[in-house]
């Protein structure tokens, strides 16, 4: 490890704070992390702000306002490595559901003074405005994966973050497939692993919070959902959720519009 501790900063855009909270939720490792890096800018945890440049920037949240576009560009300049964390930062998040609606129209109807609300039409991932070095998926991210990514960048290696299906994790942990054994629709076969296949172990279908896996076959999965009795509308809704604007999910939901 270099003599000077690497500076890590955490930035937030439109989000629920859950992903950055994962760092504070890593109770067993938090002090270790704090020992290994200089947490230079992490407003959720500290009023101390060390100015940039930073070695690693973690960005949570989606870009939804013109001001945020400027801010994320500035942040990119400040960070040697920029890591987008969570469904908001990697796919626009749940708030990307607005991307199918006319935002201007409803801000106008609701607000007495719409000029106070500055917002873009779309909620977009960080990567659509600046180059991102690594995208860590999940709504929320898995804290073990976050530590792995930090660890990997600190030790200058590639993060071990599999991009295969949730099914693989489900089987590795010995869970029984809910779709086959209980006829519960499950997005697992099209969703990227990382959560530990939590939903199937709680007897429910995956709802896709880690976004599409590597080359997902969403249309084949949609066909299976149909066989399980889901309506077109249901299928549309199941792909249009926390990673609604991720390419593969967006296309599949649009196909069932």
């Amino acid at each position: 490890m270099p003599l000077k501790k690497p500076k890590v900063a955490v930035f937030k855009f439109a989000s629920c704070d859950g992903c950055q909270l994962s760092l504070l939720d890593a109770e067993d490792e938090l002090l270790l992390v704090a020992g290994a890096v200089d947490i230079a800018n992490f407003p959720e945890a500290s009023r101390r702000v060390v100015s940039g440049p930073y070695d690693i920037g973690l960005v949570e949240g989606s870009i939804t306002t013109p001001h945020d576009v400027e801010r994320v560009r500035e942040i990119r300049k400040q960070c040697r490595v920029l890591i987008a964390i969570g469904a908001c930062a990697t796919a626009g998040g749940i708030q990307a559901l607005r991307n199918w609606k006319d935002v201007k129209e409803f801000t106008r109807t609701v607000y007495a003074s719409p000029e106070y609300i500055s917002t873009l039409d779309r909620s977009m991932p960080v990567g659509s405005y600046v180059h991102v070095d690594f995208e860590l998926r999940g709504c929320p991210i898995n804290k073990a994966q976050l530590l792995e990514v930090l660890n990997a960048y600190l030790n200058k290696r590639k993060p071990t973050i599999p991009t295969n299906s949730v099914c693989m994790e489900c089987k590795l942990r010995g869970s029984v497939c809910v779709m086959v054994a209980q006829a519960i629709p499950c997005l697992g076969p099209a969703t990227q692993a990382g959560c530990g296949a939590i939903c199937p172990t709680f007897d429910r279908g995956c709802y896709g919070c880690f976004g599409p896996m590597e080359n997902p076959n969403t249309s084949a999965l949609a066909a299976q959902f149909e066989g399980l009795g889901l309506s077109r509308h249901d299928i549309m809704l199941s792909f249009r959720k926390f990673n609604a604007y991720a390419d593969a999910f967006r296309k599949e939901s649009d196909a069932h519009e």
Binding site: L21, L31, P43, I94, Y111, I198, R204
Partner: protein, 429 residues
């Protein structure tokens, strides 16, 4: 700049969840204006809930806040069950309380030690505090982890649990999944008592004001969910009546709506409100701890909310222990939910205060419209007023100290800005 014409600015409030800033303008030595600006961009939850299936409400609304997802899940399932005319059996209800205790433990310990205590001890954050007092922070983390692990055991994970559904749970935990918590909760309970003692020794500004407190109240329990809504001025209403008595207003400087009580104005929700309105519902042990640290039954110094949080943490550990000791898995983890058109309201006590949900559902089970009133929106006018009174009283403090103290006055409420900006309500008839 002249001393009596100054501006106190905290561009980015730290150690709160979300993004906001505080501006205090003074002229002629008087506080002219206080603005808690919430610039966290709005996320339009109520708008895009329309047209979603009622079953999706707990998963979707959880994403309003990563700090208190269980609160959102609980209020939303209660509202949906209200709309569908369903009452869950007691075992499921107890399991919900248990999950909620996990969130209270996690959130309160986080706030007490990692967000708030550094203010009292003069540290910029808990990590710096850990350098001087490693045992203290290590203990806090261990206490907090119990809450998180409890949420993981019942909900699958601590942030946005996956196991909550309208009607109950997807799978109920086995006894052997909960029993290992007994020893840890017992340990946590002792630590919580000790925490209450510790934080009560902090130095508190001499600052008390009058509040209109609002919280839930339950016939037997310290309030976590359901019951009635009561206020310190004597209002006692059903949850369904909430909107007759409370409203939200859009103010230009904030992306969060301001909650107001009709005919009364600002009010406060949260630990102080719960404590002051439900002291008699605390467990004997929690009341004893309060007595030992010389607090209650009524607390009006917002800076002392840290002590109240510690007492609520005592309660949460105790309550979790009680539920686990008595736990028998329900016959079925959930009730079948009859889909009917209707309007339903639900409220629960998020760690930061009362969280109200109301939904209208059509007969095909789709959400027609939704209203969500989070605690931070309700507290916003009160927070501004606290800061105004505080600055007025302590205007003589050195600038840096006054600024820090103002921040602290905001942090007394553990404001959750992400929650507060979930909104934009569409009232389309």
């Amino acid at each position: 700049m002249l001393m009596n014409n100054r501006v106190i600015r905290v561009d980015q409030l730290a150690r709160v969840e979300g993004e906001g800033s505080l501006i205090v303008k003074m002229s002629d030595g008087k506080v002219a204006d206080v603005k808690l600006k919430i610039f966290e961009p709005p996320r339009f939850f109520e708008a895009f809930l329309r047209g979603r299936k009622f079953t999706e409400a707990p998963d979707i609304t959880a994403r309003i806040c990563g700090i208190c997802p269980v609160a959102y899940q609980t209020s939303s399932v209660l509202a949906m069950e209200d709309a569908m005319g369903l009452t869950v059996d007691d075992q499921i209800r107890q399991l919900r309380r248990l999950l909620y205790c996990g969130e209270w433990i996690e959130s309160h310990v986080l706030h007490i030690y990692l967000l708030h205590a550094p203010d009292f001890l003069g540290y910029e954050d808990a990590l710096l505090l850990a350098k001087d007092k490693p045992d203290l922070v290590a203990r806090a983390l261990k206490m907090k982890k119990i809450g998180n692990d409890l949420m993981t055991a019942i909900g699958g994970r601590e942030i946005h649990p996956v196991n909550v559904r309208v009607g109950g749970f997807y799978r109920s935990p086995r006894k052997d999944e909960l029993e290992p918590f007994i020893d840890r909760l017992q340990w946590g309970l002792d630590q919580a008592i000790d925490t209450a003692k510790l934080v009560s020794t902090f130095e508190f500004p001499d600052f008390e004001t009058e509040y209109e407190f609002v919280s839930l109240r339950h016939p037997e329990e310290y309030p976590l969910m359901g019951g009635r809504i009561v206020t310190s001025s004597g209002l006692d209403i059903s949850i369904r009546e909430y909107e007759f008595h409370f409203e939200e207003r859009h103010v230009p400087h904030s992306n969060a709506l301001h909650g107001l009580e009709r005919g009364h104005g600002r009010y406060a929700v949260g630990p102080l409100a719960r404590f002051n309105l439900n002291f008699d519902r605390l467990s004997p042990l929690a009341r004893q701890v309060a007595a030992d640290v010389h607090i209650g039954p009524v607390v009006k110094n917002p800076f002392k909310s840290i002590i109240v949080r510690a007492i609520e943490t005592v309660y949460a550990y105790e309550e979790a222990l009680r539920i686990i000791r008595a736990y028998e898995p329900p016959a079925s983890p959930s009730h079948a939910v009859p889909v009917t058109a209707g309007i339903g309201c639900g409220a629960s006590e998020a760690p930061r205060g009362m969280l109200y949900h109301r939904y209208r559902v059509t007969d095909d089970g789709l959400i027609r419209d939704a209203k969500i009133v989070p605690p931070t929106a309700q507290n916003q006018p009160t927070i501004e007023e606290d800061v105004r009174l505080f600055v007025t009283k302590f205007a003589g403090l050195p600038r840096e100290e006054l600024t820090w103290k103002c921040e602290q006055a905001v942090r007394n409420y553990d404001p959750c800005i992400s929650c507060a900006t979930h909104f934009v309500r569409l009232e389309i008839q």
